[in-house]
Subunit: 342 residues, 2 copies
DNA sequence: GGTAGAAATGTTAGCGCTAACATAGTTTGT
DNA sequence: ACAAACTATGTTAGCGCTAACATTTCTACC
């Protein structure tokens, strides 16, 4: 294998003790100027690379942070990752990336491995659906610093950095209401998933605060995929015409795309017959023939804040659990009937 | 800090030696059945987590692989990552992700850090532009297993897994030729970047093999961004009309998008007045009003093959340097004039 | 029952590094 | 000139673990 140079070897070459070499290389006080120079030169010429394993073993600090992500190719996460990386790079931490594939078993496995590697902290976007929180409770007891991001588990007293979906969906529903629409449908996600629940909540609140009626038959449990949106919209349009909604709020952009196809296939026009809005600002949203009004999720901000919080926990600066909610931003295009904006 | 349980502590509790506990936990031979059971139970109840730092220090094996990526949010890489992860997960390796931000200094820094962490191998997508290969030469001499992926440095005798851009661009040019177009323009990337060069090469070869003339004024050095495509296309269309190309091959999809805007703004139709094709199968390509014919880059395959190759080098199974080229696939839509396909 | 041989357990040393204390060597003040 | 006070270097031990060898305990068989 690669025969790595050690401090001891350098010391031997120079007739010094290991300790002096260590001090010279780690820029500690109390090393003679000449000695330091000699050591550094020798280290370079011998191709010395410090051994972080040994260092970590002694110092209990590895300068690595573990990341648990449910689905890497889910456009949201590369952006999160970028935010995380920007922070960790500055603070000299390395990232160990693990992927749970939306599987709680793998998530636990990944966290165990990260702990074995003695990471200084962990960031988790959980795939957990069950109500059994014992795993995270014991993780918390182990005193491993960790935070949740995007998908959080509540009631544990663990910091959580997420997008405030409820406020976002309330805002976009309000935007529809401001256009004068009263019969508004919602293609919802599964309500046992927090995202789905939050967005539905926001929708309901907006209606309530404006004194509008929530028509139960206009709330269709769809899902997060394009096909789900199609199916849900078909269901809506299979009702007698006078029951049709005037506007539709889809749980996310892909669902909206599916719904849009159905609307157009029916020969209806957007937004004149039916207005529609989505959620997540998918890269494709602005490329539709009628660009989709949607809610932008600040993934980069989530990553950045989560990394900052985790590091401040690691450094013992700000240990108290916090619920940081990143606010979404409305992206107003024309599918909502906003002819004024482009 | 988190007071982690050690083998020694378990041993003490049970009145055994550390070694027996180690053997029991690591499923080695020669441990009494009762003892093993006792140890495992105790380990569980005390919340033992093995210390991979110590293990790695002894065994010279860390089960981690370093990844150097020039730009995380560059849609290509999450896909690569997915391929890599799938392989490394099966083989029980962890991934340490680093980001060079297209900066060679940071790339070198990242690799040094990875070496310090004693990763078992490294996968690099290089941002290097210069011809000074000394850094990678010395990395090679250090006997750290590594492979290049996507962006390779040649002439080092290091394995490289990349997309064969030349063949891809030759294929798509051929496709245009098959449609009967003879005056074909190329919006090229910078030719000092290998991607740009390769794609231009493929374009030239296709023309040559079909006995077509390469019109130098129809090759515009553009760039990889949408704005570059715009600029290049404007330049083309500012020529007298009889010089206009009948078809355009843009170096990538974003450049094609820019060009398309210009074509449409001029009131020309795609593909009837000017056919256009891109490269990279951007997620937006199929959503254009005239969906873009392009070349699909199998990023997932690149990641998978690269990880497989690296692990086989680490395991000493297949150490010989290889140049693995993943073939692209044509995605035929309608911007090339293929009215038959959807 | 006694002994060879296997099975179970223990001991020692060291992976590469650093904290903590110990020892030389050098300066400074009076 | 000599102790006090540095500065530069060395020594020892230990982080948590395992390989390699050493010892004890158990089994088997004559």
């Amino acid at each position: 294998m690669s025969s790595n140079v050690t401090l001891k070897e350098i010391a031997k070459e120079l007739g010094l003790s290991t300790m002096t070499v260590s001090r010279a290389i780690n820029k500690k006080e109390n090393v003679g100027e000449k000695t330091r120079k000699r050591v550094l030169e020798k280290a370079k010429s011998m191709g010395y690379t410090p051994n972080f394993l040994a260092k970590g073993l002694v110092s209990k600090k590895t300068f690595s942070i573990g990341l648990v992500i449910p689905e890497i190719s889910h456009s949201f996460f590369p952006e999160v990752l970028k935010g995380v990386e920007e922070v960790t790079y500055k603070k000299n931490y390395q990232l160990i990336l693990t992927h749970s594939a939306e599987n709680f078993e793998r998530e636990m496995e990944a966290i165990e491995t990260l702990r074995s590697k003695r990471v200084d902290g962990i960031m988790v976007s959980s795939s957990q659906r069950t109500t059994d929180h014992s795993f995270y409770e014991s993780l918390k007891e182990s005193e491993t610093p960790f935070v949740f991001f995007d998908r959080c588990i509540e009631g544990l007293g663990v910091s959580c950095i997420s997008v405030n979906d409820k406020i976002g969906s309330k805002k976009i529903t309000q935007h529809l209401i401001d256009h004068g629409y009263e019969k508004i449908a919602h293609l919802s996600g599964p309500i046992d998933v927090s995202i789905g629940k939050e967005r539905f909540q926001g929708f309901k609140e907006a209606l309530r605060e404006n004194g509008l009626t929530l028509f139960p038959e206009l709330v269709i449990a769809a899902g997060f995929q394009e096909a789900d949106g199609r199916r849900a919209m078909q269901e809506l349009l299979s009702m007698p015409e006078q029951k049709w909604p005037r506007a539709v709020f889809a749980v996310n952009d892909p669902a909206a795309f599916g719904a849009i196809e159905v609307i157009l296939e029916k020969g209806l026009s957007i937004p004149d017959d039916i207005a529609i809005v989505g959620f997540s600002d998918d890269i494709r949203a602005e490329l539709l023939s009628t660009p989709l009004t949607t809610v932008q999720q600040p993934a980069y901000q989530v990553g950045k804040k989560a990394a900052e919080k985790l590091i401040s926990i690691i450094d013992g600066e700000d240990v108290r659990p916090e619920n940081i909610e990143i606010l979404t931003e409305l992206v107003i295009r024309s599918s909502c009937g906003n002819h004024s904006s482009k």
